[in-house]
Amino acid sequence: MKRGIVLASLVFVLVIMLMPYESHAVPSYARQVKKPCTACHTMWPNLNQYGRQFKVKAYTDVSPDWEMITKDNMNLATISPLSARVLFYPNIREDNNNPNGPAGTNSGSTNPGQNSTNFDQVAIFFASRVFDYAGVFTSAEADADGTTNATFSVPTLKMAFQYPLGEGNTIGLVEFKGVASAADPFNSFGGRDRDVSFQAESAPFILSSGWTFAMADGDNVGTVLHGYFIGNRLYAAIGAMRGGTVNFSGPGATSANTASQDPYDTYLRAGWDQKLSNGAVTFGAVMYDGKQRITNSPGAVTTYDSKVRRGYIDASLEQNFGEDHLFEVQALLGNGKESNVFGGSEERKFKGSYIQGSYFYDRKYGVVASINKIKFQDAQATDFTTIGGTNFGADKINSWLLAVDYLPWLNTKAALQYVNTKTTYVSGVSADTTDKMTRIVIDMLF
């Protein structure tokens, strides 16, 4: 109750601070560029072609009337760089039968009819151009953890630089802390953005899973050199990253690996961004290769490096046909391989796919559906790392999501979501489980 009052008060203060003079509310980038949401987004958080270019240009493409306060040798933006988000699940109905998850959480017990009157997430975004060639983006979140506490984190912190190379060509550098795809502009690979919209239930398993490493873990840190070339059509990126840790758990596990000692990994990304009549199509490929430092492992060897590799191909399509019928689809295929997983030359692999489609009419009424699959190979009942969150010992996970959305305004969404997740376990770990969740989502951006 007390936590709810604190969170509600925080939201109220933020709304008052950030309410613009006009009757409609827009986040900080829209204020800086003096353009509506539809300038950069199809349906938030998905980016359209201009929005992808805006991201690669390090959020610097503001209105020509952008002003800075320079008196007394200051360099201060006149427009507040803050935006806020409130996420609220007022009603959740779950039917979980996974006996292996932590007790007291959604996945850890049969919990029919769980309702919540508290805010589930309050986030503040700091997003701004800093000067002509640099911009910054960071988010700070307070998430309810299913008890009376709220966990606070800074999942994303990015400093981006850019330099124009002539018409339709930009080169940039991103320093970040967050998911491995933090610098990536494509919707099909933007795992964090999808999480923000639909939370963990919709994150592609092939991004969130691993034995010693996960692409979608928020503890990745790194540097990405990237750019748009050939008239903003070819996207290429090369990066050096570390972290992306996975907690060891299960029988006998006691600790996680340590990001600060982790060797740097290589990230390569190429994509093509082709404008179509009334939309765009993208396709590309990602390769991640490196080592993960494990310390305090509960196994026979306590400190060692595992070798990790990930490969993905992705594609997306956006089309706005008729008067205002917006259709989008994103697909991601991937595989992963890890060697020396427990310090004894063990090898583990996975492969899987994710596809999400959506249709919105008038940008007010929409339907979203996704299919999320992963198959683990060579997983053993004696493995003591988690795979894909709490699905310890999973052999295969198949999940689908269906949502019906209503947006009275572009920055306010009400949705009814259903998620069905079936997990098949390695022999000896557990019987197959099917988790079903229905929930109402209220999502507001200021």
Partner: protein
């Protein structure tokens, strides 16, 4: 039963995106007549167009632009849509799309005529970002960014009515497209002149619409084969 339901739903979905059937009938017009004339302002006080001070993008667009709202010169009114009301049959509706260009921080043309079943192409000929927000009969029809010179979007004209075209990035920008279900409509030139051609013989009501002055009508306009009917439409206020 389930199969039938799926087929019916699919057909409904398909037809919801197909061009709307409308009442106008295309016939061969032989030796048609024409309605020609001028639109004038005859009121006591002639409204004058002001210069609009620009709130943004002044480096590219300048500090101000003419409003292009009244466009009355020597009593003649430009940019008036003159159309025949409720004509049910006649020549074919033009198939060429209407093109509305974002040019020098305004719309060109400022006023146009479109036809149900046709298309409108909105393009950006400026080197600045424009965000086209189009309303049909007061309700948002679509809202799409045209980020660079050469960007364009093509949309179908499925319904009749008044389309108001604005730019969310530049609030002074306004354009209009009257969408009709027949081809007998034109926009007056700088001298206020108009000519509606290939009209089947008959008696018609002619309407003039102006974005600021409203509407006036001329009833009982008689059109004879091969002849031009001359009329004058007057706005008084």
């Amino acid at each position: 039963m389930q199969k039938k339901a799926i087929v019916v739903c699919a057909m409904m979905l398909l037809f919801s995106f197909s061009p709307v059937a409308f009442a106008y009938e295309t016939i061969v017009v032989k030796n048609g007549g024409s309605i020609e004339g001028v639109v004038e302002f005859t009121g006591a006080v002639v409204p004058k167009d002001q210069m609009v001070k620009l709130s943004s993008e002044t480096k590219y667009c300048g500090n101000s632009l003419p409003a292009e709202k009244y466009l009355i010169k020597n009593g003649k009114i430009e940019n008036v849509v003159v159309s025949i009301v409720d004509i049910k049959s006649g020549k074919a509706i033009p198939s060429e799309p209407i093109v509305l260009t974002n040019l020098k921080c305004g719309f060109s043309p400022h006023v146009a005529v479109g036809f149900q079943g046709g298309k409108v192409i909105q393009k950006n000929d400026d080197t600045i970002f424009h965000n086209i927000h189009t309303y049909l009969n007061g309700k948002t029809m679509f809202n799409i960014g045209l980020p660079e010179k050469g960007s364009s979007v093509t949309k179908p004209l499925l319904r009749t009515g008044l389309m108001e075209v604005t730019c969310d990035s530049h609030p002074w920008m306004h354009g209009y497209i009257q969408v009709l279900d027949h081809p007998y409509a034109v926009v007056t030139n700088a001298k206020g002149d108009f000519a509606i051609k290939d009209v089947p013989a008959g008696t018609y009501t002619v309407e003039a619409w102006h974005e600021a002055l409203g509407k006036v009508k001329a009833a009982n306009v008689k059109v004879e084969s091969g002849k031009a009917s001359k009329i004058k439409l007057e706005f008084k206020k």
